[in-house]
């Protein structure tokens, strides 16, 4: 007889970054179906779903609604860091846990949140470590005007300057804005070795299309000469980009067909994979600890249970992969093995996985 356990799902079906939240929802739903169909698994999840519609201010109240009106203590969801920060007070107030399955900028370790996607020592730092020697140290930075863009670019700037490189420009757009001409003009004027793109959603699509168009008329801006790099681009956003996706380079824990992800399942993108992993890991913990553990505080649930989540930081051990879009699909350029998330960059975990190289 399976224990029926309510599980909150907090995903936007519309808005600027709907593709990301839908990919996350697909992963979570698939995992719920797999858990429920698994006769050996003593847990059955009943989803309690809310749709904030891409409005950051709706996440907090809807998370509260799930925790207040249903028995669910665990919620999977949120896309932007803004929305995650909005739900943390609700989690603290009502004793809930958020399983956050998207890449983010680090510098957080809430005792109410589990982080199952990558943080900077698993995406940005390895990406720069690969790109600076491979392409050069003159870099242009873009980002959406909120914490993700700011913090990724701050870390990137620090890393680039420490490596003896230069940041030629740094420009931001409000979430959803598509006036990318100024960025394109500045890139054409400064001619960097590569561009780091931390725009999200519609802004990113507009920017990548415009940059692709620039590369068609000016050979200095082809993927070979001046590639476009990102820590948040996955397969789930390739469709709206079409041809413009060709040559894009991204860092992430999973790309379709890549190796190292636990389990045999295939996913559409790392957002799907990380959401799937969040739900299955929760099911494993609830099965491991037995009846009633769904109401335990997160610290008890994670203590002594093994698995890929660090009970100290609630961050996850993940593969670190750099891949490039070739013929419409990501191809792995470099697989750097598994690295534990180090949200405050205080454990030097990046360097452990790095090959030694001569410093010039």
């Amino acid at each position: 007889m399976k224990r029926r356990i309510a599980l909150g799902l907090l995903h936007s079906g519309s808005g600027s970054y709907a593709l990301l939240s839908q990919a996350s929802l697909i992963g979570a739903r698939a995992a719920i179906a797999a858990v429920n169909a698994d006769a050996a698994m003593p847990v059955h999840f009943t989803p309690v779903q809310r749709d904030p519609g891409g409005n950051a201010d709706a996440y907090g109240p809807l998370c509260e609604e799930i925790l207040r009106d249903s028995p669910a203590r665990h919620v999977v969801g949120c896309v932007t860091s803004l929305s995650r920060k909005e739900v943390i007070p609700s989690l603290e107030k009502l004793g809930g846990t958020l399983w956050y399955p998207l890449p983010y900028e680090g510098f957080e370790a809430s005792d109410r949140v589990v982080y199952t996607h990558a943080c900077p020592n698993q995406h940005l730092l390895p990406l720069l470590d690969w790109a600076l020697p491979a392409h050069g140290r003159r870099v242009y930075l873009t980002g959406s005007n909120y914490i993700w863009g700011w913090e990724i670019n701050r870390l990137a700037r620090m890393t680039i300057v420490q490596a003896g490189g230069a940041v030629l420009g740094e420009r931001y757009l409000p979430i959803g804005a598509q006036d990318v001409e100024r960025m394109i003009d500045e890139i054409r004027a400064t001619c960097p070795d590569f561009v780091l793109n931390s725009l999200v959603g519609a802004s990113s699509y507009a920017f990548l299309r415009a940059y692709h168009a620039l590369g068609l008329t000016d050979p200095r801006f082809t993927p070979e000469r001046c590639p476009m790099l990102s820590c948040n681009l996955t397969e789930c956003e390739l469709a709206p980009l079409g041809e413009a996706a060709e040559g894009l380079i991204a860092a992430g824990p999973y790309f379709r067909g890549s190796s190292g992800w636990p389990g045999a399942a295939e996913f559409g993108s790392s957002h799907e994979a990380a959401s799937y992993a969040a739900v299955t890991e929760l099911a494993r913990l609830l099965a491991y600890h037995g009846a009633g553990s769904e109401d335990w505080p997160l610290a008890h649930l994670l203590a002594g249970a093994g698995g890929p989540i660090d009970p100290g930081t609630h961050h996850t051990r993940l593969p670190v992969i750099i891949a490039q879009v070739r013929d419409g699909a990501f191809k792995v350029i470099q697989h750097r093995g598994d690295v534990l998330g180090d949200p405050f960059l205080s454990r030097n975990l990046t360097t452990a996985a790095l090959p030694l190289r001569v410093v010039s």
Partner: protein, 201 residues
């Protein structure tokens, strides 16, 4: 001026929490460890290990002067007050003892990282300012030496402006402060057996 917060050297840094055993201490310890610090507890007094600590968190509610092995306001590391009661008297005591930042109880994960960075920055700035003030004060105290050095140089039939200019040249050549150059001039004259006092008036 754009200020950059140092984020890198926190891994392995030592924190001591001066608070009686409490849930707030557990929550703070958990968060500090997540950030990468090594955590010790002490109550009611800071042990000897506190002198090696990089950060001290102290209870502002039940704390008192005698808990610290250094004079109030003179801690050799950043100090963070854990404040429950926001009574003016307690805030006053926290400031007097030398809080560089504060955390409000009940302590959860939020606020700990920023308190650590803000306390360290405030401590560094305070320390840099104190060093600068001490240096300026010392140089002020050497005003008399400067006057004496200029007068000694003037004995070699120079105008006051020329003697002053020569002293400046010496300081630049020796790469020391104006006041230290004056000290050297006076000392050299004394070593040569001269007594500049004699030439006064």
């Amino acid at each position: 001026m754009k200020r950059q917060v140092r984020i890198q050297q926190l891994g392995g840094a030592q924190a001591v929490i001066l608070h009686r055993p409490h849930l707030n201490v557990l929550a703070l310890t958990r968060q500090l460890r997540a950030i990468g610090l090594v955590v010790d507890e002490a109550w009611p007094e800071l042990g000897a290990q506190a002198l090696a600590a990089d950060f001290i968190f102290f209870d502002a509610d039940m704390g008192y002067d005698g808990q610290f092995p250094w004079p109030a306001g003179d801690a050799p590391m950043p100090m963070i007050a854990m404040i429950g009661s926001e009574a003016p008297g307690r805030i006053e005591w926290s400031l007097q003892i030398g809080a560089h930042a504060q955390l409000l109880k009940p302590i959860t994960g939020s606020g700990v990282y920023s308190a650590v960075l803000i306390a360290r920055d405030a401590f560094d700035r305070q320390r840099a300012l104190a060093a600068e003030i001490a240096d300026l004060r010392r140089r002020l105290d050497e005003r008399q030496t400067v006057v004496r050095a200029v007068m000694l140089l003037m004995q070699r039939s120079k105008s006051e402006a020329e003697a002053y200019g020569q002293l400046r040249q010496m300081a630049m050549a020796w790469q020391i402060s104006f006041e230290d150059a004056a000290l050297r001039v006076v000392a050299r004259y004394a070593a040569e057996g001269g007594d500049d006092q004699r030439n006064r008036g």
